[in-house]
Symmetry: C3
Subunit: 470 residues, 3 copies
C-alpha cells in the first residue's frame, strides 16, 4: 500500500516547543509574501511562448542535476534517464527515479520534490516504485491543462519578479516578446558575460574567439580590439538594462581580481583574443574583467554578483559524452581576501558599487566573507548557494555570518534554479529556516520578538528588492 | 568517598524530550545488532592464540594513544606510563591515569573508557585517585579469567566480522591459524601496502628498499623491477583475499593520485626503487600507486579505502625516542578535488570500482567530499575518522554530508581501533548519535519515522556489510 | 514611544527548559567571580591619571572598531563619526549610531552595548533615533561623576587583574605611576614586540629601522647588531616582568616559525636591520624571532601568546587616510602544522615553555589546533578570538576543540579589548556560553553535574590565572 505524502505545517521549524511556537508565529507573517527571485535560470521562452510543459520526466527529472547526479552516484546510467538520449522512454525513466526515491532522504531535493508533488499537483501518496505510474500520469495530465502553463504557474506562485540569466550574445528575443505580449508578469534578464570574458570558455557552439566574433557582429564593434570589446560590453549592458536587468553575474573559477594599467590590460587582451595565452594569463584576464565590470557597474548601476569556486565538468568522460551541467561540478577551496583586493583597492569605497559575493567554500563564511562584508560598503553576502541551499546549509550560513556581518549586509534569498516548479518550495524552505533561526535568537534573549518579525520580513522580501534594486 | 560510575541509558541522545523519545525508540531497535567492524587494528594473534591479556595498564593504557597523548600534553612523561620503558610499574602508571582522569571530561575517551569499566568489568565507581588500585586489581584479576580471553570477548561483544589490517609483508600466519583452529569467529585481514608503496616509509625494521627486498623474497618476484613489483602486489592481494580480505587501505599523506603512462611509471619506479628520488617524486609515486591499486581493485574486487591527511610523527624528538604511533600525528589541510582527478579520469565511471574516502579535514566534508560522492559512482564516504570519531565529530559529519551525498553514499561505522575492549562502546556511540540525528530529522518533519527506522538499521549494520562486500 | 531595554536574566542560555535550568544553576555559581583579564588593550594612562572619560561618543563609539566598521559597511563615512576628524560633533555622531542601531541585531556588539547601557549607566529604554539624545546626555553626565572614573569602574567591575599590552619601546611610565600611586588595582603590562620584530612594521611614527634606533637609545644596546638586539629584548622583557608582565604577545601575519643557526639568524638580521630585504626574508625573520622569543620565555618564564592570521589594513585607501585599526583587518587562512614545527622541534617538549595559540581561521580548530594542543606539553589554546568572540563563535570553539584537546588545554577567557566599559559584559557572555555548553553535556549524560560545576569555575576564573601564571 502506498505511504501517504505529508507536508507537515511545522516542517523545518525547531523541535523545542517554545521555539517552535515562536518560529511558527514569525513564519505565519511571511509565508504568503510574494516571491522575489533576483537570480535564477528559468527559460524566458517559457513565459514568452507560454506553451505547455511536456511530461513529468522532461519537466522534473531531465533538467534537474540534483536529481540525476544522485541517481548516477548510485550506478544509474544517465542514458536511462533520457539525458543525452532522446530515445529513452520517459515513463521508464520516471520509474527509475521512483524506485530510488529513498536515496534523497535527508536531502533538500526530497523536500522540494515533495512540495511540487503535493502542492503543485495535489498528489497525496509518497513517490515510490508502486506509485511511479500514478505520478507519471497525474503530472503529465496536469501539464496539458491551462492552469499548468508557465504564465499561470507564475501567477499562482505569486512571483513578483523573476530574473533569468543570459549571455551578452543572447538576443533577448524572449524578453522582448514577453514585454510585447502585454502580459503583466515581470520577467527580467541578468547580464552573464562569462562566454565573452573567459578565454577558456567552451560549449557546444564553440569557444571564446567564436564568441568574440559573434559579439562583434551583434554590436557592430570590433571585439578583437580592447576598446571595441569594452564598448560592446557597454552597449550590451545598456540593452540588458532596457530589458529589465538590474544585475550582472560572474561565474569564475576563482574570486581573483586584478587592477592592470590600461596598457597592460590591452596587451593582455591582445594575447587572449588571439588565442595565444597560458592558463595563468586566462586567469589574469578574467580577474581584470571583474574589475572592468565593477567600473561599468559604477556607471550604469547594475549590481554585480560573483559566484566563484566551482571546478566545472570535473568528470572528463562524462563531459566528453554529455556536455556541461551534468552534476559533475565540484566546489573547491576559494580565497577572497587576497583575491578581491585589487578590485577593492580601486573601487571598494565607492558608494555606487554593489558587489554580492557567493561561495561554495563554507570555511570562508566566518573567516573571510563576513569580515569583508562587515567592512566594505560595496560588499554584501549572497545566500547559501547551490549545495548549501538546504536546511543545514542555510543555518550554517546564518550562524557563521550574522555575528560579524549582521543581517543587513545580506541580501535575502536566491533560488538560482532552472527547476521552475520548485521555486516556491525553495523560498519556503529559506523562510522557514530563517524564522527558526530568528526564533532561537529570541528564545535566547539575543533579540526581541518584534525585531525578529522585522527581520523575517526583510529576509523573505525586502532585502532582495533593495539589494538588487528591484 | 568514590563517586558512582553511571552509564545513563539515554546518554548521547538529544535533550529535547520529544526528540529524545523518538531517538530512544530508534536506538532500541539497533542497540543489539551484531557488530560489523570492517576497518580496524586489532591484533590477529589475540584471536589465534587466545592467550589472556595482561594487566589493566598493558591492555588499556599503553596501546591507547588517545589516552597517553592527553596525559603527555599535560606534562606527564611517557616513560612513566610504561611507553618505551618496560621497567615502569604498571600499577604506578595506572595511578597516573586515575589521578588525571578529569582531563578526559568532554572527550570520547572518557565515554569509551567508562563503558569498558562499567560494562566489560562491572565496576560501579568512577575512576579517580582514590579508586585507582581498586580498578587496577579488579581489571587485572578479570583478565586472568576465561571469560576475558580474546575469543570469549569477541563472542560476548556480538562481533559478526572484524577486519584487521596487515602489510603485504605480513605472512598472515595468525589468520591462517585462526582458520585452522576451527573457531567460528570471523576475523579477516585487509591489504595495507604503505610499507611497500611509500618510498619514504620507515619504521624500526627499515625502510622502503628493505621492504622491497622482503617483498621479493616473500613472493618470488623481482620487486626491484616494475613488472615484478606489480606482479607481487597481484599475488599478495590474491593471498589476502583468500584470508578473507575484502578491502585495501591506503594511509597517504595527501589524496594525490596520478595517471602516468606505463613508461613514465616504470621510469619513476626505477628512481624510487634505487633510493634516488626527491620528495616530489616520492609523492608522485604514491599518487601513481593509488591509481594502480584502483586498477587492481577493478580486477579482484577489493574495496579501496583512502585515509589521507595526517602529518605523521610531527614531534621529531618524540619520534626519535619512542618511534611511530605515539600520539604525535597531526591532521593537515587536504585537497580532494584536484588530487583525485587523475584516478577518477581513468576509473571514476567504472561500476566495478568502489573507493571509500576518509578525511581529517572537516572543511572538505560539504565542500568536496559530499559533492564528489554525490556524483561519482565509485565513491563513498567513510565515517567521521580518528579525532572526529566522537559525538560532535559524528554529528558534524552527518550535518555536512547528508544534504549533498545522502545517507546511501556513506558506509556505516568503522571503529578503526586497536583498543579491542572499547569496540562495542565505539559502535554504540555511533548508533546513538545517528539515532539522535535521525530523530531530529523526524521531529522537523524532514523525514517520516519509518524512514528513520530503515536508515538507523542501515547505518548501524547493513551499509557496512554492503559497502565492504562482507 | 521608546522600546524598553531588557537584559533578560536567562539570556544566552539554551532554550530547552531542562537544559536551561541546569545552565542557570551553573551560571549562578560563577556570575559573580572576579574578572581575570590576562590579555587586552585598555590604556594604562586611564588608571594612572584616573581622569574622567569624555562623552558618550568619545568613550564608546570612536575607539570601538566593531561599531564603526558596521556603520561604514552600510555607507556611513568615518569622518561623520569623528574618526580622523576632531571637528565632528559628538552628539551628531551618536545620533548616527542610534539611528542605525538595528544593524547590530544578532551581533555581539549589540549584547555588549546593551549591557553597558543598562548595567553601567542604568538606562532602561532601547537605543534608537528617538532615544539618541537621552542616551548621549545620560552617559555624558554620568562620565563626569566620581563613580565613573577609571579606578572606580575597575573596582565596581570586580577586576582582580588586568593586563595591558605595550611595545618594548614603551617607557611603561603609566604602569610605574600606578604602582607609585598606592592604588590597589592590579594593572600589569604584556610584552608585544611586533614594532621591533616585524621588518615591515609601519605606523604614524615610522617603521622598523626607526624603532631599532629607539630600541637602542632606550636600552643602551646597539640594536643594529644581532647580539645587541637580542640583549635589548632580554633587558626590556626583564623590565616588563618587573612591571607585572607574565606574558608576551605576538601579532604575526602567519604562524610561521623558523629554527636558523645562529650564523644564519645573524646574517638575516643584517639584511632586515639594513632595510635591505625581500618580503620572504621579512617573513623568515618574524618566524625566527618567534623561536628566539620562545627561548627567552624558557629562561624568564613569560608565557607566549601567538595571534596570527590577520591581513592588516586590507583597505588601502582607508589606511592611507585614517591609519591602522580602523576595522579593515581581515582574517585569512592560517596553517599551524607546518608553520609551528621548527619552533616545536626546538622547544616543543620543554616543560618550562608555555605557548598559547589563537586563530581567526576556525577550520584549524578541530583539524590542527586541538590535535596540537592535545599532544605538545607546551601548547594551550586561547579562547575564540576577535570576530569569533561571540555566542556562536564561542560555541563553535568548544564543540570543535573539546573532544580532542579537552577543557584543560584551554586557558579561559580573554576579552582582548580596548572598550573598557564592556569588559564585564564580555566575560559574562563567555561565562553564560560555557555554562550552556556544559549543561548540554550534562543533559546528554556526557558528564556529571558536579564535573560541570568544577569546569565552569575553571573556565571562568582558575584556568586563566594558571595559564598566565597570575
Amino acid at each position: 500500500m502506498p505511504r501517504p505524502l505529508i507536508l507537515h505545517p511545522d516542517r523545518l521549524l525547531p523541535a523545542d516547543p517554545a521555539t517552535r511556537a515562536l518560529a511558527r508565529a514569525l513564519y505565519a507573517e511571511v509565508a504568503g509574501l510574494p516571491i522575489i527571485s533576483p537570480h535564477g535560470h528559468t527559460d524566458p521562452s517559457w513565459f514568452a511562448g507560454n506553451a505547455p510543459f511536456g511530461n513529468a520526466t522532461e519537466l522534473l527529472l531531465v533538467p534537474d542535476h540534483y536529481l540525476f547526479r544522485m541517481l548516477y552516484s548510485q550506478g544509474v546510467p544517465l542514458e536511462r534517464l533520457g539525458i543525452g538520449n532522446s530515445d529513452a522512454d520517459p515513463r521508464a525513466a520516471w520509474r527509475i527515479l521512483s524506485e530510488n526515491y529513498h536515496l534523497f532522504r535527508g536531502t533538500p531535493s526530497r523536500m522540494w520534490c515533495d512540495w511540487v508533488f503535493a502542492e503543485a499537483f495535489g498528489i497525496d501518496v509518497l513517490l515510490a516504485a508502486d506509485t511511479a505510474d500514478l505520478y507519471f500520469d497525474t503530472i503529465t495530465a496536469a501539464l496539458a491543462t491551462e492552469s499548468f502553463r508557465p504564465r499561470a504557474l507564475f501567477e499562482r506562485f505569486n512571483i513578483e519578479v523573476i530574473a533569468t540569466t543570459e549571455s551578452p550574445l543572447d538576443t533577448l528575443e524572449h524578453h522582448v516578446a514577453i514585454r510585447a505580449s502585454g502580459w503583466a508578469g515581470r520577467v527580467i534578464t541578468a547580464y552573464r558575460p562569462d562566454p565573452v570574458v573567459d578565454p577558456e570558455y567552451i560549449d557546444g557552439n564553440g569557444g571564446f574567439r567564436e564568441n568574440l566574433a559573434l559579439f562583434s557582429s551583434l554590436t557592430g564593434e570590433d571585439c578583437f580590439t580592447w576598446p571595441g570589446y569594452l564598448a560592446a560590453h557597454h552597449q550590451r549592458r545598456a540593452f540588458f538594462a532596457s530589458m529589465g536587468a538590474t544585475s550582472t553575474d560572474h561565474g569564475h573559477p576563482t574570486a581573483l581580481t586584478a587592477n592592470l594599467s590600461p596598457a597592460e590590460a590591452e596587451a593582455l587582451f591582445r594575447k587572449v583574443s588571439a588565442g595565444q595565452f597560458t592558463a595563468q594569463e586566462a586567469e589574469l584576464f578574467r580577474a581584470q574583467m571583474l574589475t572592468e565590470m565593477a567600473g561599468m557597474s559604477i556607471e550604469d548601476g547594475l549590481v554585480m554578483q560573483l559566484h566563484p569556486g566551482s571546478f566545472r565538468n570535473h568528470n572528463a568522460a562524462l563531459f566528453a559524452h554529455f556536455g556541461r551541467d551534468k552534476g559533475a561540478d565540484i566546489p573547491s577551496r576559494t580565497d577572497y581576501v587576497q583575491a578581491l583586493k585589487p578590485l577593492l583597492d580601486r573601487f571598494g569605497n565607492d558608494p555606487r558599487l554593489s558587489l554580492i559575493l557567493f561561495t561554495l567554500d563554507e570555511s570562508a563564511y566566518a573567516r573571510e566573507l563576513a569580515p569583508l562584508a562587515g567592512h566594505y560598503p560595496c560588499l554584501k553576502l549572497g545566500p547559501a548557494w547551490w549545495f548549501h541551499d538546504s536546511p543545514e546549509g542555510m543555518l550554517r550560513f546564518r550562524r557563521m555570518t550574522t555575528e560579524t556581518a549582521g543581517f543587513y549586509n545580506t541580501v535575502g534569498f536566491n533560488d538560482d534554479t532552472r527547476a521552475f516548479l520548485s521555486i516556491p518550495a525553495r523560498h519556503d524552505v529559506a523562510r522557514r529556516i530563517d524564522c527558526g533561526f530568528l526564533a532561537e535568537l529570541v528564545m535566547e534573549h539575543r533579540m526581541e520578538d518584534w525585531e525578529a518579525a522585522e527581520l523575517s520580513q526583510g529576509l523573505a522580501y525586502d532585502f532582495a528588492k533593495q539589494a538588487y534594486r528591484l
